[in-house]
Assembly symmetry: C2
Homo-oligomer: 94 residues x 2
């Protein structure tokens, strides 16, 4: 099974659980998943696209979509860290 | 003026223009802005956070928030490219 096929249900599960119960522990699951996404070279825009699809499928309300941004933020923070590593790597090479 | 203070109104302007007129040329403005964001070391999660704030301020509807994801996608693509550069740089160093 392709890694991406396992990401879709996992990410969806995290987002939907978070909408039911805004618990930090669920965000922590998002953080753990995001490390795997980066390991598997999943691009950040793929997560944005997946997030939008989930919100559409679920016919989420505006408030739910806004709440779901917390999960997106958590995941993008991991990309931010990877990106800052990139910058420091480039600085070292100069 | 701090760079970030100039980003907020520019990004907001692009998002709101896009919601009025879903035009590719507005997405292209987003693409240009995202290059500057990366040059100025703005983290991707800062954009997610800004995007959420704009949607809240504007009391956007669910449909509007979903449409606005196109801008977020465009901007995150630039981060994705920067991130892939990071990966290829790392591979070269191994």
């Amino acid at each position: 099974m392709e890694f991406w096929e396992t990401v879709e249900p996992k990410y969806k599960d995290i987002v939907l659980k978070y909408l039911i119960n805004k618990d930090e522990r669920i965000l922590y699951q998002g953080q753990k998943l995001s490390r795997k996404l980066i390991e598997h070279h999943i691009a950040p825009e793929e997560i944005i696209s997946l997030h939008k699809s989930i919100m559409m499928e679920e016919s989420a309300s505006a408030d739910q979509i806004l709440d779901s941004f917390d999960v997106l933020l958590e995941v993008m923070m991991a990309y931010g860290i990877a990106y800052r590593e990139h910058q420091s790597l480039r600085t070292q090479q100069k």
